[in-house]
């Protein structure tokens, strides 16, 4: 039994018995999830006449129905199911009795409402279970008081309280009123893993019924009486800003009410890490309907001008940093030349173990390979959008956003209103992948609403979305290995860089497994904005490193899995260096599970296999990708995947996420690419930007989890990075040629054999 102080929770558990009136909290928003599915489920049980709020995460109806407020915004991880599962587990209720509602943005009640970086479940693992456990304890306390027996003798099972000695029992609903008046316990007991009844058992997506019947649930579905539609016009190229606008022709178009300009930041505002914005000065056009605004947008006459170089201080997760933004119009061709140039010069040495220079000097063989990848656009299926209604010094927002709290200081500053006057609903996001962590579009919607004095829904066209920036950066990495005359690995050297950031993680595998190791990095400033993208840096480095290790194993005459396991054995038994970011045993564990599940070495002769493994975002993932060549075209037949992310809360949903990450990675490795010419993105919609479709997706995906009792770590990112390497390695087996440049589709060699 785990006994935990509830001090983290106490601040969050603001009790508010005044909310205990029937349905006071329920049904005030179209985004509340008491939708068809829930109502059907409840058809066998009446809706409660009265609700009792036990803490901010849950309320219990007089008939035992439970409403759980799920704190984090959802964009497809299925956390609206798995987070309530954590609470329901410790509360000891029947999952069938649970209704899930989305909590609004409210940091005092719900803590850091951040969905991203594979942190959701990891950060909520204890607090949400404590919310459930403390409520259960209050219910037991209520029963103990009512029955005049010691609390220790009260047991609970599936929403029922029992006192065995006296034979008394009651449903949670019957004790909820008394429980809601009790103080939150100082400490609570959490269940042991072996006692879990809900965690670890697959539960269906609580929103699936609403999704398959087309219910309004996304930010872009938001409707409000009197709401206007707005669109923005941003500069056509990076390195440009607004000069002047003539909106008269656009304003004369049917259904158009106004053309305004907005400035996203107040002068002197200190930006946070997620205030990234290449185009802070915009033209906005406001009208009655989306189609009318889209048509009028074409009639805007805007003059743009080049930006001047500048530096800015960013106060983000890593503390204060200065960023240099150069003037000028950048092109992919120039980027490539610059990256080649820096890759050929000494970089900044970030880690050095042993004497790598001497090892290379004395090497019998040196294997050196360079890898590169282009910028990637997120291309979430739901383009950026936000609803905002500014009334005086207050604003009501409903927007798809991954980290609502981080846009609040910007909103407060730019609107000139107090932060506490910002109210935000958190509708479902139609994809995010890191892009919706950058909430500039929320600020834009609010500024437009303030200017036109009306409720406004800002809608980005696909073209606006794809050309707005915040891309996965373009990267380059060179790996070198020194081998002695017996093909023993003597040293490894990695030099990596990118625009505008280096992708290097110097302390990750294979650092720690080699006596002689060196890691260098470099970067090039740019005015093309970049940001989070399903493990940026990792998703490039995994592909490069794992392709290199594959080629290195082949050069050394070793089996690729055996080769990795040998290195990991060294890292576990006799690690080199103090700071190795990974657990070599868990890393080896996923490879061993994978080897068994994929029946490595026993594949059909016509199947070409590639293996890859990587650690990032606190979890370990490894893949074997099986490829065949059909009519001269590579076809991914199967991906076998092994993951160690600790305890898996909702296994089928976690599998779904891994399947998605694998498919997404194969798509980006094959096709993903955004290029630039004179600052202009060369693709702006799906007729030019190739996305993976069903035809190119794996025919089968087979996901396995390492079984352990370690607290859950990330799932959104970890299966994504290694698939790039697995694909490259399988392509080599199929075609006899290595792929060094992404996207592989444009680096596709003539087929051999």
């Amino acid at each position: 039994m785990t006994r935990l102080k509830t001090h983290i929770g106490r601040r969050a558990f603001i009790k508010n018995t005044s909310l205990a009136g029937g349905g006071l909290v329920l049904g005030f928003s179209i985004f509340n999830s008491c939708k068809q599915g829930d109502l059907e489920k409840l058809a066998v049980r009446e809706m409660p006449k009265e609700w009792f709020e036990i803490n901010t995460y849950l309320k219990i109806g007089d008939n035992g129905v439970i409403t759980i407020y799920t704190p984090n915004p959802e964009f497809g991880q299925n956390i609206r199911t798995s987070m309530p599962m954590l609470i329901a587990e410790e509360l000891d209720v029947d999952w069938k009795d649970v209704i899930v509602e989305q909590a609004p943005y409210h940091p005092e009640k719900y803590g850091f409402q951040f969905t991203g970086g594979s942190q959701g479940i990891r950060r909520r693992w204890e607090p949400l279970r404590m919310a459930g456990a403390s409520a259960r304890q209050m219910l037991r306390q209520a029963a103990a008081q009512s029955w005049q027996v010691p609390i220790a003798e009260i047991t609970s099972i599936a929403g029922m309280l029992k006192h065995e000695a006296s034979g008394q029992s009651a449903g949670y609903g019957e004790m909820a009123l008394v429980a809601s008046t009790l103080p939150v316990p100082e400490e609570v007991k959490l269940k042991e893993v072996k006692d879990f009844k809900i965690i670890g058992q697959s539960r269906k997506n609580v929103d699936a019924k609403s999704i398959v019947t087309g219910k309004p649930m996304f930010g872009s579905d938001y409707q409000k009486e009197g709401m206007l539609i707005a669109m923005i016009e941003h500069p056509p190229a990076f390195g440009m800003t607004l000069d002047s606008v003539d909106g008269s022709a656009a304003k004369a178009m049917p259904g158009i009410l106004d053309v305004v300009t907005i400035k996203s930041f107040k002068d002197g505002f200190e930006k946070g890490g997620f205030d990234t914005n290449a185009f802070p000065e915009l033209v906005a056009i406001v009208g009655n309907s989306t189609w009318e605004v889209m048509q009028a947008k074409k009639q805007l006459s805007v003059k743009w001008k080049p930006i001047k170089s500048y530096s800015e201080s960013i106060n983000g997760f890593r503390g204060k940093e200065t960023k240099n933004i150069p003037a000028g119009f950048e092109s992919t061709e120039k980027h490539k030349a610059k990256m080649e140039e820096l890759a050929g010069k000494p970089g900044k040495i970030v880690r050095k173990d042993g004497k790598p220079e001497a090892a290379f000097k004395n090497a019998a063989t040196i294997l050196e390979r360079s890898y590169s990848a282009p910028y990637l656009a997120h291309n979430s299926m739901e383009p950026l959008n936000a609803f905002a209604h500014v009334i005086g010094d207050k604003v009501k927002i409903a927007a798809p956003i991954q980290i609502p709290s981080l846009i609040v200081p910007t909103l407060a500053s730019s609107l000139g209103i107090p932060a506490e006057n910002i109210e935000m609903e958190l509708p479902r996001m139609g994809g995010g992948f890191g892009r919706k962590a950058y909430g500039h579009y929320v600020v834009e919607a609010a500024l437009i609403s303030q200017k036109v004095n009306a409720p406004v829904k800002l809608v980005y066209s696909r073209e606006d979305d794809m050309t707005n920036g915040i891309y996965r950066p373009t990267y380059h990495a060179t790996y070198r290995a020194a081998l002695d005359e017996n093909n023993n690995l003597m040293a490894l050297h990695v030099k990596a860089g990118g625009i505008p950031e280096s992708p290097l993680f110097a302390n990750r595998f294979p650092a720690g497994a080699l006596d002689n190791y060196m890691a260098e990095q470099w970067s090039i400033d740019s005015n093309i904005t970049i940001g989070a993208f399903r493990a940026p840096r990792s998703n490039f480095m995994a592909g490069a490193e794992q392709a290199f290790l594959d080629e290195l194993a082949e050069t050394m005459g070793k089996d690729p899995i055996e080769f990795r396991l040998d290195l990991l054995k060294r890292a576990k038994e006799d690690p080199v260096g103090e700071q190795n970011d990974y657990d070599a045993e868990r890393y080896a564990g996923v490879l061993e599970l994978l080897r068994e599940k994929a029946a490595w070495g026993q594949e059909d002769r016509n199947i070409h296999r590639g293996v890859s493994a990587y650690f990032c975002h606190n979890s370990y993932a490894a893949h074997v990708l099986d490829l065949t060549i059909e009519n001269g075209k590579p076809v991914v037949q199967n991906v076998c995947c092994a993951i160690d992310c600790g305890i898996v809360v909702n296994p089928d949903a976690a599998k779904n996420m891994a399947e998605g990450a694998i498919t997404d990675g194969i798509g980006n490795a094959f096709f993903g690419e955004l290029t630039f010419k004179e600052g202009v993105p060369q693709k702006n919609n799906f007729d030019q930007y190739q996305m993976i479709r069903m035809m190119d997706a794996p025919k089968e995906i087979d996901v396995h989890f390492v079984q352990n009792e370690i607290a859950p770590t990330g799932m959104g990112e970890p299966p994504f990075p290694p698939i790039f390497g697995a694909l490259a390695n399988a392509l080599y087996q199929a075609t006899g040629r290595r792929h060094y440049q992404q996207p592989f589709v444009s680096d596709r060699p003539p087929l051999v054999g």
Partner: protein, 153 residues
Amino acid sequence: MATFNLKINGEQQMVDVDPSTPMLWVLRDHLKLVGTKYGCGIAQCGSCTIHLGGVAVRACMLTVSSVGNQEIRTIEGLSENGDHPVQKAWLEIDVPQCGYCQAGQIMSAAALLENNPNPSDNEIEMAMNGNICRCGTYTRIKKAIKTAAGSAS
């Protein structure tokens, strides 16, 4: 502006819009049927798939003036209680991640099975290739279509 009488999900609807307005925006902005999604506006992603006279079409490039008397069905009208075989299969396989593209996927799948109750893998891929799922749920979508085909036959 002009008046159009449309038959949508079995009901007669009247809208007063510019004749060039795509059905996508007539549905979303004027009739508040927001289950049909905007993804690209150029018939490349399939998020806005609806049925026109029983055939899957992209609502983003179907002007309201070209609809005439043909019946329109949207995700909201695919079944009365969300129990169309394709919807049921989607729930059984638990297909969605973010869910944004799924209405379009379901409408494409339902149209496919209407014409070809037992499609081969290749026929499923051909019919579904116009629908992008950025979350990458394709393996589940295919499985759900096979489940729906199996349950209907």
